[in-house]
């Protein structure tokens, strides 16, 4: 009994050490975990797979470095799929601190697949005032993005020929760490009937499930687990799949701590009841 009472007063630094170990060790030892895609993730993958060659896919970077482990693997997997299928990504950024992350991933995968800037893909960069921008793209994208992220006029790029508004964009994929996706759904989806897929941080993914059920979004990639599923579907397991062992073990350790904490709670409760009865 005593051990449980001691456990209830355990120094939080022991808990921190346990968590650090179960996160770090699997990253070093690399145990394999099978990743089985769930339906919301499969739906995004299938939709992209069925897009005809040359389709334009707008990718919105609505996250920053804090969400990088969850969002960046999905972005890279998605870009691999797009370039492999000869689809054309158009990158926009709504979180200014996410701009370099989007640029880095886009350039990395474009190099891998020998995609040509301005022909196979383009990076429009960041503009302030995302609500106005999301509504405004419904009329003319050039009202907000006259140039790309390097200040080169949009009309000088073949990829942007005949791209004016949502009618010319076949799919919008929002990578979301906050609530920007609500504006995409309200205006781009609700008003302009733009097809939308979302990748959300694990903590906010449950908030978007009802948009998936009501078919306001075509699919949902939730957190690092969703990114791992997407990597598996694309056929190139990478950082997210590697992170699954750490995430699995850290969840397990947290569950064990919760159970131990509850045992300690009930032991303490029964001890107090006995003392009170004496």
């Amino acid at each position: 009994m005593n051990i449980f009472l001691k456990l209830s007063k355990v120094d939080r630094r022991f808990i921190y050490i346990f968590i650090a170990l179960v996160v770090i060790l699997p990253l070093i030892l690399k145990p394999k975990f099978p990743v089985v895609p769930t339906k919301p993730v499969q739906d995004v993958y299938d939709y992209v797979e069925n897009l005809p060659e040359g389709s334009k896919v707008m990718i919105s970077i609505d996250y920053d470095a804090a969400s990088m482990p969850e969002q960046q693997p999905f972005l890279e997997a998605l870009l691999r799929q797009l370039f492999r299928n000869k689809l054309k990504p158009i990158l926009v950024v709504q979180w200014q601190l996410g701009a370099p992350l989007g640029t880095t991933a886009l350039e990395k995968i474009a190099r891998e697949t020998q995609a040509i800037y301005g022909v196979d893909y383009i990076n429009l960069g960041y503009r302030p005032g995302y609500v106005a921008q999301i509504v405004g793209i419904g009329k003319e994208i050039r009202d907000y993005f006259k140039t790309d992220y390097r200040n080169i006029p949009l009309d000088s790029f073949p990829i942007m020929k005949n791209v004016h508004n949502y009618n010319d964009i076949d799919l919008l994929v929002g990578l979301e760490a906050g609530a920007t996706y609500l504006v995409w759904i309200e205006y781009a989806g609700g008003r302009f009937k733009q097809k939308i897929a979302l990748a959300l941080n694990a903590v906010s993914a449950p908030d978007a499930y009802y948009f998936y059920q009501s078919k306001q979004i075509i699919g949902l990639v939730g957190g690092m687990k969703g990114a791992a599923e997407y990597e598996a579907l694309v056929g190139k397991p990478d950082l997210a799949v590697a992170g699954m062992a750490s995430q699995s073990y850290s969840h397990l350790v947290i569950i064990i701590f919760i159970i131990l904490g509850n045992i300690a709670y009930f032991v303490e409760k029964s001890r107090k009841a006995k003392e009170g009865g004496k």
């Binding site: 346990f18 470095a65 804090a66 106005a132 904490g261």
Partner: protein
């Protein structure tokens, strides 16, 4: 005659009404008026950044001059801010964009911002584990139900759940798509109705707290 707070309330009413009409009637004149309003919105949004910078620098400058608590950190902040802006401008002139992979601006981003933000966010794992251990107790029926559901979802959302039983992820998905979503939808509808009510109050000038 309009005077005092009546002027911004009147502007809010006019602009808000135009936006509502243009949503349902996207043709002339409302379509054009909406376009102009959105452009203004973008310009104002750009300038709000300047206000933010002014406020941030002003606050930390005052902390330094008054030598208030932890004023040393304010020097680091101002030095970091100034250095980043200067390097960003120089690299934009030199390479055409500060986001070029060879630029020092990107170096600052990759080796300062990314580790700092990632560290802050990853600390959550430790705090959540510690908080869950100390606070997640089966004190009554509701708490027990929440605890059991949390454990199922935590296992079902990682590949380990699939190893335990292939049905666990399916059950987790059911939890996410049915009971979880029912509660979220209720909350979402409540928030939306509340936002609608506040919007109408703002348009009609009843709610004026945003002016203070």
């Amino acid at each position: 005659m309009l005077k005092g707070k009546g002027i911004p309330v009147f502007i809010t009413f006019i602009v808000g009404t135009i936006m509502i009409f243009s949503f349902f009637i996207p043709h002339k004149p409302f379509g054009d008026l909406e376009k102009i309003s959105l452009n203004w919105y973008s310009i104002i949004a750009g300038f709000t950044m300047l206000l933010g910078v002014d406020s941030l620098i002003g606050m930390h400058y005052r902390k330094i001059t008054r030598r208030t608590g932890n004023w040393g950190y304010s020097i680091v902040l101002i030095a970091g801010f100034t250095g980043t802006v200067v390097i960003g401008i120089i690299e934009t002139i030199r390479l055409g964009t500060a986001f070029n992979e060879a630029s020092y601006f990107t170096y600052i981003y990759n080796y300062f911002i990314v580790p700092l933000q990632s560290t802050m966010f990853s600390l959550l794992a430790f705090f959540i584990a510690s908080a869950a251990y100390r606070a997640f107790r089966a004190r009554n029926f509701d708490a027990t139900l929440l605890l059991i559901t949390a454990i199922i979802v935590m296992l079902g959302r990682v590949p380990l759940g699939e190893q335990i039983s292939p049905n666990l992820p399916k059950f987790t998905e059911w939890i996410m798509q049915v009971p979880q979503m029912a509660a979220k939808r209720g909350i979402g509808l409540g928030i939306s109705l509340g936002a609608l009510g506040v919007s109408i109050r703002i348009l009609l000038g009843i709610e004026r707290s945003y002016l203070s």
